[in-house]
């Protein structure tokens, strides 16, 4: 089992390295990038850049130095707002984004699983059909579309919830709904399909033949197996929630990292772009790794496999 995890860890590092490398070279090769543009915005900034990024040195050396810099978690200074370091911006924005993302994830997981289980138990009935149709709708409406619809209805028309910022729990409702709906739908569908398959398995028949109560059969026997694919999905879901925050934060004017990211893209603020990209990717990759770990713990067949996973 150990070797399995070491492999995964190494894979994780490799992916991270690939992203850093891609990001670095992309930024440096982009025409119009302050890194290689003769027309500069102003002298002071250009000087800053040259010092910061040693632009006189060969690219490979710059790359090496950037790697070193990153290893010490220093992401450099913003170009457009030269008084701020990227680290500061991340430090300010990340906690907010994290809160938003985590709440959305938890809501999605709990609602999704519950809905999926209920739909699977009332299989082929009216409830199932309605639930699954809602689920497809949930997947199909992009989160930013949903966000705008929610604002339109609840904030503008009915004026019961605030539109912007992130100051009270009331402010959390609309953004969370917008962000969590699609993942809820995906989880619900997967849980349902998985439960349906598990419920036809022989070991469920065995459990019934032992006279166990339906609750025990569903929770102890069925769910444990049915949730395994869902756990695998969590990594990808975390990614989609994360990218969702960019757009949700923009719409609801929430001061999270997403806002900085999107702004920096529109402003071509390359150090910020690079720094936040790498930071985001790291978070994602860590999440994927955690999910893998969790899956390994939950499924005894993986836990005890000595060969490659």
């Amino acid at each position: 089992m150990k070797s399995y995890y070491i492999k995964r860890f190494v894979s994780m590092l490799v992916t991270l390295w690939v992203i850093i490398t891609i990001t670095f070279f992309l930024m440096h090769f982009t025409p119009g990038s302050p890194f290689n543009d003769e027309r500069t915005t102003n002298e002071a900034i250009q000087k800053n850049l040259e010092e910061q990024y040693h632009l006189d040195k060969p690219l490979i050396v710059q790359y090496g130095m950037y790697l070193k810099q990153i290893a010490t978690f220093d992401f450099g200074i913003s170009i457009k707002k030269s008084s701020q370091t990227v680290n500061e911006m991340i430090g300010r924005g990340f906690p907010v984004s994290f809160e938003l993302g985590m709440v959305a994830l938890v809501v999605a997981v709990i609602s999704g699983i519950t809905l999926g289980v209920i739909a699977s138990l009332k299989h082929n009935g009216v409830i199932d059909y309605i639930a699954m149709t809602i689920a497809v709708i949930g997947i199909s409406i992009p989160n930013f579309v949903l966000a705008t619809m929610l604002i339109q209805q609840f904030a503008v028309n009915w004026k019961i919830l605030p539109t912007a910022t992130w100051s009270s729990w009331k402010h959390m409702i609309l953004p969370t709904i917008a962000l969590a709906t699609s993942p809820t739908a995906i989880i619900a569908r997967l849980t349902r399909t998985s439960m349906l398959e598990v419920l036809t398995q022989d070991y469920i028949k065995t459990a019934k033949a032992k006279g166990l109560s339906p609750f025990k059969i569903i929770v102890k026997h069925a769910l444990r197996n049915a949730l395994l694919p869902v756990v695998t999905l969590l990594g990808a879901l975390a990614a989609s929630i994360l990218t969702g925050t960019f757009v949700i934060e923009k719409i609801f004017a929430i001061p999270g990292m997403g806002k900085y990211f999107v702004d920096s893209i529109n402003n071509r603020d390359y150090p910020v772009i690079m720094g936040t990209t790498i930071f985001y990717s790291t978070i994602l990759i860590i999440m994927l790794f955690l999910v893998d770990l969790a899956y390994g713990i939950l499924d005894p067949r993986i836990k005890l496999q000595k060969k490659e996973g």
């Binding site: 022989d202 028949k205 065995t206 033949a209 032992k210 006279g211 166990l212 102890k220 005894p300």
Partner: protein
Amino acid sequence: MGSLLEVNNLHVSFASYGGEVQAVRGVNFSLKKGETLAIVGESGCGKSVTSQTIMRLIPSPPGKIKDGSILYKGKDLTKLREEEMRGIRGSSISMIFQDPMTALNPTLTIGDQIMEGIKQHKQISKVEAKSKAIEMLELVGIPNPEMRLKQYPHQFSGGMRQRIVIAMALICEPEILIADEPTTALDVTIQAQILDLFREIQQKRDVSIILITHDLGVVAQVADRVAVMYAGKIVEMGNRRDIFYSPQHPYTRGLLNSVPRLDQEGELVPIDGTPPDLFSPPEGCSFTARCPYAMEVCKRVYPLESNLNDHHQINCWLQDERAKRILHTI
């Protein structure tokens, strides 16, 4: 009379998009204490449905008990409420299934799965449950039971898993054990071991066993009495001697003839044809289309029951005196 279990005129059907499938069409048999009854027949004859109906494990849409009763110690199992039935499953009547590779939950330890049966039905402490589980594992011949309790199903071979399944079924000391094709998925050598185990358990624990199978070899080894099923009905029933040494029903004979034997040369003789469509089963004897001795009456009317002696019964028009006219062909 001393029957532990009595199945009377059982009719079970399934609603499907093509109509109603009559899987069990009037089955009668009884089970005495300490005996092993084998129900034999080809796929689709209704033997599994019958046994699962005893346990009320058939999902209620689409399945339905259309008629009949199942009397266990005087109580009619078909009329019990689900909670009452749950009290019986696993404690008074237990069932084991065909494929040991999938019968166990892969994410739980076998100890957990064995003990959960007894914890469900009896007020018992964890320590007592554990020692009972160990006792069961020893009974079914799993070495080193204490350590094995903590292991997971995938760490056991097929034969051992089937033993574990049997241990699970017996932990509450049921009076009846229903085994649905318990050896079909196993190698022949393992099969022999499991059958030996059945015999041993029966002696030691005085359990009555209903054994469902399509394999006559299995029947010969363990059954006291045999019921031969075809297309939802029992066509012949007798004790082991009756069935193997003087089978009367053409289907039973066909089955026996189609079993390859080491001491016989020549071609294998299968029974021509396939079982009838159970959407609209024939009026008369369902074996008519495949029976080499079929008569006009067989097509029209279902054969009445004949008692060949007080333990051998059969439903076949060939038993009627008027059939002796063509009996020279038998």
